[in-house]
Symmetry: C2
Subunit: 345 residues, 2 copies
């Protein structure tokens, strides 16, 4: 099938850019040094490519992601890097997958034990005010877990506040500070896993035994601004459905494409369209102008109704969560279509 036959909006994944990203990361962090985070693509077919690149342990953010990965036969070593108060659905996977869950409190330890999950990581707050116990509490949480019969594999922490720092040296310095907190906790907790990091810090985090990067596979414009060796592989294909009248009071001329708030994660701001200035997004529309500053208002419009444009989302994770499928493309050809099968909870 040709791209021109696709209905829009449609997620496109450039196979060469994807392969480049997977190969680049596999060289930097081979095999178990990377625990790819599936939340960034929610797609077991893409996870299968990551497994083929050598990474057979995965990170998940939701129980549904864990279930889906197990059902796809990718359950060799699944970490739910998130706290849950009801772990029964995880416990039910005992026969088909190895499941480890994050704990950071007496309540989440009790839930893991009650749900029948055998293994945990102690989640440690490393500077991002989100989940994780204080480093000085980590040993106590580990002891509690062991007292409930759980195996404590080690610690995890996520320096998420540092991922998008543009200054590489500053990012490395603050990552080291953040990971010193995790190392302190790891010494108290024991076990052999120190799981941390992400696409922004994968090259600078020297404390983690495994890096939980996810966005590197598809990328987005926020990570694209950080100076990483990964290419934007994901775009949203759109059709230009309307163009302004030359006589409109509103200038410069604009066009409207059929992607919007329901096909783009918006928390990192507007998407990027090469050559255009994006004005705003509505539910199913992006209004933009292709007229460059200083151009004459009567200059012929370069983009017309019916044309296709490719829209780069600002944040990959919530973008994929809005789509049922992604089309893998090689030039103008759709070579595969993968369900985004890990959506929901």
């Amino acid at each position: 099938m040709r791209i021109s036959e696709l209905q829009t909006p449609a997620l496109l994944v450039d196979v060469h850019d994807l392969d480049h990203n997977l190969a680049t990361m596999a060289r930097a962090l081979p095999g178990p040094r990377l625990r790819p985070h599936v939340k960034a693509h929610k797609c077991t077919e893409l996870a299968r490519r990551q497994a083929a690149a050598g990474h057979r342990s995965f990170t998940c953010a939701t129980i549904r992601e864990v279930e889906g990965m197990a059902a796809a036969g990718l359950g060799e070593d699944l970490l739910l890097a998130n706290e849950v108060l009801d772990a029964r659905r995880l416990g039910a996977l005992a026969d088909t997958a190895r499941v480890t869950v994050a704990v950071d409190s007496a309540e989440t330890v009790a839930a893991a034990a009650a749900g029948g999950v055998g293994e945990v990581l102690v989640d440690v707050e490393v500077g991002l005010p989100r989940c994780g116990c204080a480093p000085e509490d980590a040993g106590r949480v580990a002891d509690l877990a062991r007292s409930k019969g759980l195996t404590v594999r080690g610690v995890m922490g996520y320096e998420g506040h540092l991922m998008l720092l543009a200054d590489r040296a500053e990012r490395a310095r603050l990552t080291a500070e953040s990971m010193a907190r995790l190392a302190r906790a790891a010494a108290d907790v024991g076990g052999d896993v120190v799981s941390a990091g992400g696409t922004g810090t994968y090259a600078d985090n020297t404390v983690a035994t495994e890096i939980q990067a996810g966005s590197y596979a598809l990328m987005d414009t926020a990570y694209g601004a950080v100076g990483l060796p990964f290419r934007p592989a994901l775009t949203v294909l759109a059709t230009v459905v309307s163009a302004s009248s030359p006589s409109s009071d509103i200038q410069p001329p604009w066009v409207v494409a059929d992607v919007g708030l329901k096909s783009l994660g918006m928390d990192h701001g507007n998407p990027t369209v090469p050559g255009a200035t994006v004005w705003f997004c509505s539910d199913e529309h992006t209004t933009m102008s292709f007229v460059q500053a200083g151009a004459q208002p009567d200059e012929p419009r370069s983009v017309r109704v019916g044309d296709r444009v490719r829209v780069l989302p600002a944040h990959v994770d919530p973008t994929v969560a809005l789509h049922e499928r992604m089309h893998v493309v090689d030039g103008d050809e759709v070579v595969e279509t993968w369900p985004v099968d890990l959506r929901g909870w």
Copy 2:
């Protein structure tokens, strides 16, 4: 089923608030004076309630919404208030639904005719730089449509830039200005339909023969700030999965609930949690503090790990698009569960 048995995150619809909203709107705009927009809830069961309240013509934003409404037997008069360049899936519904599509250009007229759609509205730009031809071009577009054998039912326009204006008098004044543009176009186009308006202007738009409001049914915090007689009926149920350590360097104490960028539309900003200050959202988390300004830092935390909280989204439309179902609740009881069955394209 009790709400406490639901897994989180989960969309909750308060049945009394929903009924209040539907009844309030049906009194203001009875029967065909309202053409409810299904994009705001994407749920045929909710549309069925709107039909029971007297509104049997509906507005859609996507072809999938039109198809789903037709399949649900709600296809008496469906308007796709959006431009499409490939109308074949709409034309295929000819035996099961009455479908009208918006056109604003020669290309969209040609697509409607080629796709087998029989009826159109001429979409007019009324001040929002999005779809719609200039008012002075509307007659020409209508003539072109008629020359292709299409029935032109009238005009539509959307004063979307005015919906969230807080000053009611200013909103009414600008709506009148905007609708003067639509009335001018309507005179040139002919037909008996003037379709426009939304939840923010439903009471002030005196030109439209029918109002395309959608958000009034479930509401959100953005519309909640405008002073309308509709109640917030939609919340996202969340579980508190983590709480900060009293010894954390970061103060004041915070908790983390399991709703985030993948369960909340974020284009209108952070959600609201009654009693809390929301700090930020991550993919599956909202970090917030329940400590009021001026409180002592050692004051007992009022919200604990395992507690449930209700999160009010800032924008209803992209929020529902992220969920597979909504639970209709009466007090603590889940009385019905409705699929969000109009998602996708």
